[in-house]
Symmetry: D2
Subunit: 312 residues, 4 copies
């Protein structure tokens, strides 16, 4: 498909999916997120030649929340390499993203880097490397975008930190098993700030393009991560990227995705493109209903699926 | 890669991987399996043009065990279509394949068709459609192969049934939630027989080729399943096909796989080929160590991965 | 208190508690139990001198269900002695009576003899000692009563066995851990028959009187069990006798009790008496609402409590 | 038994039990506790007439740890009355004292006041009533003893607070369910200080004497708590007072007990006396081996058991 037919496609998808923006509920576990206008819907595609296509509210920044785990993981993998896997597993959890049950059974080693426990371990790794890990994640994103105008929403970060008891429980729990090097409060400060980064669909699609290109930014420069690491990140997105609906997403969409409670969903088509959709209302698993519908429709219309034989 | 370079590659892989046949232990939970010669190693590839390449012990039949779940699932999906998903989930379980814990939490609905509970539900579905479900699975395999010389090993089936208390517990447990239509004994008879089907690497690669071809057998005839169903099966293999090591397999191998405690591992390269490796000794998760090593090496050497951008 | 004031007291309690017979629901997990007239309420006391006092429907037989676990445990302890505790624990479970979760964690050793798993192990022990364990339990009760007119309700036993999938799951599960010597079907036949014994409040109070007398039937003969065993049975009743409401019963009633889903509740006042109340409607834990209210009132009015200093 | 025969009995028990002081290991989860001389063994009895008998190291203060939960609960019950049970359950947990698993299932309501979660809720209740809850507990103990020389060991309190990640996890977890009114840090400060109160066997036996006397201090004054509350505390001690060995203690000892990882065990004989034994080395459940042996022997020799008919 060329750029103009892709543009037409996502325009159509946004138009057809608007009706689903009514379903579900905006995340309300922190007051700052609950204030987002719920009727937004955006979609963007970044293709390997660097083109970025936009539809609907694709340029409006929103709170990326758990999508930040993807950038933090990539940064940690760059720094630590394979030894990172001694601190966090790579298996789907079979339990909600914020559960402590498996953590108790597995003595403080989180199942994967995308459950909250795993993301806190990743932040802990970054705390040992950087004085301000959230700035390191932000600057990493700046580097990926070639721009420095992406920022942390301080109000969201503060609100998030004030309502971080569940994550504090997880952090203290891991520390009680000797699995957290820094103080929980330090890790939580950085983690809440990182989740409060605001980005648009267009920026998220562009910033994650290296995952579609075996770790190399297609527009040049040195690799972001090596090909093996990029593939592993895609594999983790596929098996663990959509909270406790990862299996359902794999069946419905067939692409590596990472979702966030801000309503964003990022998806990767290896060898082709990266895409992102956003709409604030969530289902019971914490995934955006309209954004998931938009990406599912995109996959169905193009036939793009890592599990399929046909090439669009 | 052409056929001769693929042949050279799998010959090399089998030679290089022989040394790993010492690691792990043959499944001993049923006496009949414990008698298999442990030093076997075979590998086979079926490409879309129908070519089947063989290396090592690729033509020696072995007990396919849980790989049979793949054929049973496909047959059930053909018959039931999408309504099948009302009876079984599509999420990874985060627990060992024979755990009852999640089943209790989720009131008798198994997490996916590849944990034992889910496979028993699939057999139950087949019990409602066929008088002898294990014959139906066998004949389905005959149809895929275009041959009728694949058979159930009656000794293994009997031994398996005599040691099926854990699966009997699961079956009765689901029935106590009203989630099993047939009597547990009926379901267990069929399930144990189906697991005792004996096939070689070459036959397994050939029989699963439709999964690499969007559900259509490349050598003609009507589709085995539609493209969407084939992709979903691949997605389920990726997220749930390797017991509680599915995430690790996705990271290491990057292909949909289904493993069995007989030591077989089947893998699908969508759009390209299906492959199978076999060696009896297992790791703690119940996956063959040497067969996994062979397939991992194959993926590394060819660069084939559903998560990668490059094309070999 | 003398017999006539005790008689007046239980007459009053039955009259005052009738209004609570409306609350809750009759057990409906087996059809035969669902047919019991729900408005019944009886109460009986057996004192150490052998007097039996009756109020309301105290002489109407009902299905004793889990109260039979008490007699089976006593019989098994008589035969096995302390070695019985190698097969079953003595700790409260913190989970519903038919849960399999702890059984998985604890590798097939039930937490205590009153959860279903533990009761099935007790029946398995009896299966190894008696050809017809349910007859052995019945004859043990006949011996305690000095009469042989107590019987198994064959209709209830049959209905129970037809709806025993949950218990079959538990039995097969324990056998998969090597913790059940007999075939699950054999154990379940005996267990379901034992639960279907029909007795009245008056008979239950009389038959359990040895528990109030350090194991010795106050009207003579050899001890039923030794004092230590009798005390342990009382301790198990206190900590585990009321399903997942044992702690609440200990706080509200303060006496060792054993409840059954037939609506019976047996209570022991060590050194004084044994008592039983019955009414079919149950709360969510499976305990009779009106029978619990009657016994709670009895304890409050008399001041009898194993946790209290005063003597009535 | 009169005082001199009781004195002779506990002297004998201490002498005979010394040999068991070698078994087990001193609690080492906080450095300050690990320094306690491990060979200590003391025992004391307080009878209803106010006599206190001492044997061995009965007057040496030790860290009362979880035994403090008993005094905190009593104080909270005095202040809150029955409404306290809206915030904490009364059921045994079936899981280790510091588990988070049940807390997740039960949405932040602890199973009972003696698991750590429940004790933290009790401290939270006291935080809402007192500026310095640990001082309130201490002064409550002073009142029970009629002396003010019992104190918090500041070194132990500090060490405990520095190693309180597990309890911090529990506190934040409950707060995430909206079940903790104060800040976790505030609750933890008070809780760690309360656990660090140092008392001797003699003082603990004397201070808990009201539990043997239906809530009234036998030497006069107003009741500590009413009879119903005192009985409920005894019931909770019996069902939940010895961590995950409560059932075993009920069978072996047959008295309400409360244990602490400092090695102390307090036991109540309703209507008779309160007693305490202490020895630092613990079993895997966190209960003192020698102190449990001493109390078990006391119960066996005297025949005192709340489950028994005989009177010593």
């Amino acid at each position: 498909m060329n750029a103009s037919s892709l543009q037409a496609l996502i325009d159509d998808i946004v138009a057809a999916t608007r009706s689903r923006c009514d379903e579900g509920a905006v995340a309300d576990y922190i007051p700052a997120l609950a204030k987002v206008p719920p009727d937004r819907l955006g979609m963007a595609i970044a293709t390997l030649d660097g083109t970025v296509l936009r539809a609907g509210d694709a340029t409006e920044p929103f709170s990326i929340q758990s999508i930040s785990k993807l950038f933090a993981l990539t940064l940690a993998l760059r720094r630590e390499g394979e030894s990172l896997w001694r601190r966090v597993g790579r298996e789907p959890s079979g339990t909600p993203f914020n559960s402590l049950v498996l953590l108790e059974r597995e003595q403080g080693i989180p199942r994967n880097p995308f459950v909250n426990a795993g993301a806190l371990v990743i932040t802990d790794v970054l705390c040992q490397r950087f004085l301000q890990p959230e700035r390191a994640v932000l600057e990493f994103i700046h580097g990926l975008l070639g721009r420095t105008d992406v920022a942390i929403d301080a109000g969201v970060a503060r609100s998030e930190r004030q309502h971080s008891d569940r994550n504090a429980a997880i952090a203290h729990f891991m520390r009680s098993f000797g699995k957290l090097g820094s103080q929980p409060a330090t890790v939580l400060d950085a983690y809440c700030a990182q989740c409060a980064i605001a980005m648009s669909c267009a920026d998220l699609a562009r910033a994650s393009l290296f995952l579609a290109a075996d770790g190399r930014d297609p527009l040049g420069g040195s690799p972001v991560v090596d090909a093996l690491a990029a593939r592993r990140i895609n594999a983790l997105m596929l098996t663990c990227g959509a909270y406790d609906a990862a299996g359902d997403f794999a069946c419905r969409i067939g692409l590596p995705t990472k979702t966030g409670v801000g309503g964003g969903i990022l998806a990767v088509v290896p060898g082709r493109m990266s895409l992102c959709a956003w709409s604030p209302r969530l289902d019971a698993n914490g995934n955006s209903i309209a954004a998931a519908a938009a990406i599912e429709r995109f996959a169905a219309e193009t036939g793009l699926s890592i599990f399929g034989a046909s090439v669009a």
